[in-house]
């Protein structure tokens, strides 16, 4: 059990920067997900924490101790591979005992701890089975147990659920979360699946193009994305981001004066330093309400398509040149071709700088 700190950690393969000057501080016992599209550097980050990859520059600390040059064998991390990397030519018992035997622990102690771990992982009845005969869920438990038995300072998991079908993944996710709580382990979990990250992690580190975009709790990342990438990457369907123009007390969408959306002073204060009136206006599909066309404060859009998913209607809309989505409850079901009025919940809307794509921060105000 350790805290982990990455300080300006960079990884370069030739000319290619895989991870760029990453700062990340993971608390003891925390469950952190590193989330991002494939090729964003999340696996490289994890491999550097594990010591599988050297860092090009920067420092990695476990509990404040510099481990940057400690080789992978000595670093004391637990690692769960995407395919679990179970030693299929060995029995479950031999898999569990492997790490302890390598450390040269006395046989009696190995046996005792293997039994304890098997008990804990509910694998006791399978101890002498060939590990190639295990079910996926037993494999996951064995993979975690095999790492946990040597009491690693942190646990790293490389998309362990990505090979599973959707229904089973949910069950395994719950099990993983339970194991993490019971082991009280610091865990770092790499995934490209935002639902998995949102459901599992205490905090999420969102990465893109080798750069850490945002590191915060799932709620904050959802409600206050740091930039356009995070805003679009988190949430399904993802956030609508439309070109807009700053006006007096609000924004106009797509250059149509009729589509003027009044914004609160609080949100307008975010645009105070912009040099041009162009801005990106972001709002989640859930934060739209249906209203009469041309009613005050609303803007108009045409319905292209309506998908019904469970209890929700996902409505594809077009306004001016922009396509975007709205999510309504089952009750509100506009028909394709219809022109509708939309009200944006401006308390949950955001403005982004069109050049840097960073979110524009409103001025701090004293509430209540």
């Amino acid at each position: 059990m350790s805290s982990v700190r990455l300080e300006a950690t960079t990884k370069q393969f030739g000319d290619f920067k895989a991870v760029q000057s990453m700062d990340l501080s993971i608390e003891n016992g925390e469950f952190v997900a590193i989330l991002g599209p494939s090729g964003c550097g999340k696996s490289t980050t994890m491999n550097m924490i594990a010591g599988i990859e050297d860092v090009t520059s920067g420092t990695i600390r476990f509990d404040g101790r510099d481990v940057t040059s400690v080789p992978v064998q000595k670093r004391g991390v637990g690692f769960v591979f995407q395919n679990y990397a179970i030693f299929t030519h060995m029995s479950v018992r031999d898999n569990l005992a492997f790490g302890l035997e390598i450390q040269g622990a006395p046989k009696a102690e190995v046996d005792k701890r293997v039994d304890e771990m098997a008990q804990f992982m509910a694998l006791s009845h399978r101890l002498d089975a060939k590990s190639s005969a295990l079910s996926v869920n037993e494999l996951q438990k064995l993979a975690i147990g095999r790492s946990a038995i040597v009491e690693p300072s942190i646990f790293l998991l490389d998309e362990p659920l990505s090979n599973l079908d959707a229904a089973f993944r949910e069950k395994m996710r719950a099990e993983l979360r339970g194991l993490q709580r019971a082991l009280k382990q610091t865990m770092v979990y790499v995934t490209h699946d935002q639902i998995e990250a949102m459901g599992l992690a205490d905090r999420i580190a969102v990465m893109n193009h080798a750069v850490l975009q945002q590191f915060d709790t799932p709620d904050v990342i959802y409600a206050e994305p740091a930039n356009v990438f995070v805003a679009r990457f988190i949430g399904a369907p993802s956030m609508n981001i439309l070109h807009a123009r700053i006006g007096e007390g609000g924004v106009t969408l797509g250059g149509r004066d009729a589509d003027f959306i009044p914004l609160s002073d609080h949100l307008m204060s975010a645009a105070r330093d912009l040099r041009s009136p162009d801005v990106l206006f972001g709002f989640r599909p859930e934060n739209l309400a249906l209203t009469e066309p041309e009613s005050p404060g609303s803007f108009t859009a045409e319905v292209v398509l309506v998908e019904t998913v469970g209890r929700r209607n996902i409505v594809h809309l077009v306004s001016g040149m922009s396509n975007f989505l709205a999510v309504f409850g089952r009750g509100a079901a506009p028909r394709a071709g219809e022109a509708i009025g939309l009200l944006v919940d401006t308390d949950r809307a955001h403005l982004f700088d069109p050049e840097t794509e960073e979110r524009l921060m409103p001025m701090e105000m004293s509430h209540g």
Binding site: I52, Q73, F79, N83, A85, F87, G99, R146
Partner: protein, 317 residues
């Protein structure tokens, strides 16, 4: 009646003609395709086998001046087979062949494994070294025999090299001494076939999943522990194939020995194959050689059947 029923009516009442006819024509194609091989097998296996069994039950030799099918005139039942048990020349040849296998194959395996491990851990300029290391096994075995005939000459390069360190090196006669000649042919065989072991074992090592090796590393295993506890156990089947191939080939070894030593000095390097060759062309006791041949076939068939049964069982498990 639907349209789909029409074609089968045309086919003179054969109800499910399309499916059955197709399966039948594929079967007959397959049978025609294997025909040439079957004919060749009858020609080279079945017919000669019967002939050999027949000859082995007589005293016939080509010196008789009688064609082989008249061999029944000297019918002797199993006398040739009885003779096998009292033939010191044959026993010596079998013993030397076994000794050769016992000495050469483990050395080849050990060196091949060492090389495979070195390559697996990573070496510089790997493709170049890989090609160079494989060279010996591509040399025509008879030519390899000649190469080592040259090397082990009393006035040859080996003694010239040893002479740099030791005055008496030029007095060492390699191929005319019983023990040294045996040593020399083992060296030649190790030189030529270690690359084969390496080739197969390295391919095996490369098939070990990377993630398992990494997992072992993260659990603290050093490369030696990874090699012995993860990689080697995983390539057991490959090791079995490599050893099996070499053992079989060692029992067949002829070309290299024939060119290098001719089995000599005396019978010091006379393998089973060389013994059979000498019996065939020097003693011309063809019926006796035929009997030995049949015995060898039976023994080898039993061994291979046992091995195949074992491997099949392993695959099922």
């Amino acid at each position: 009646m639907t349209d789909t029923a029409l074609p089968s009516e045309k086919h003179s009442g054969a109800a499910n003609a399309p499916a059955d006819g197709l399966a039948e024509s594929r079967q007959s194609l397959a049978k025609r395709l294997i025909l040439p091989t079957q004919i060749l097998l009858v020609f080279i296996v079945a017919f000669p086998l019967i002939m050999q069994i027949y000859i082995s039950l007589t005293w016939w030799t080509p010196l008789d001046g009688e064609p082989w099918y008249r061999a029944y005139q000297s019918w002797n039942w199993f006398d040739n087979y009885v003779e096998i048990f009292g033939d010191p020349g044959l026993h010596g040849a079998i013993w030397r062949t076994l000794l050769f296998v016992i000495i050469a194959v483990p050395i080849e395996f050990g060196l091949g494994l060492l090389l495979a491990a070195l390559f697996y851990e990573g070496v510089a300029a790997r493709p170049i070294f890989y090609s160079l290391i494989l060279m010996p096994m591509m040399i025509v075995p008879a030519v390899a025999g000649y190469i080592f005939f040259l090397i082990f000459q009393q006035t040859g390069p080996l003694n010239a090299f040893l002479g740099l360190f030791w005055e008496g090196a030029y007095d060492v006669n390699w191929l005319n001494d019983v023990n040294r000649a045996f040593f020399a042919v083992v060296v030649a065989d190790v030189w030529q076939w270690t690359p084969l072991m390496f080739l197969i074992l390295f391919a095996g090592l490369m098939s070990v999943p990377q993630d398992q090796m990494r997992a072992a590393t993260i659990l603290g295993a050093n490369w030696r522990q990874r090699f012995w506890r993860i990689a080697l156990p995983r390539i057991k089947a490959v090791i079995f194939i490599a050893l099996g191939l070499r053992v079989i080939e060692c029992f067949k070894i002829f070309d290299m020995l024939f060119v290098m030593t001719g089995g000599g000095p005396g019978v010091a390097t006379e393998s089973l194959s060389l013994y059979l060759y000498k019996q065939t062309f020097q003693s011309l006791e063809w019926s006796y050689v035929a009997a030995i041949g049949i015995t060898v076939l039976v023994v080898l068939s039993v061994i291979t059947a046992v091995i195949l049964a074992r491997t099949n069982k392993k695959e099922d498990a």
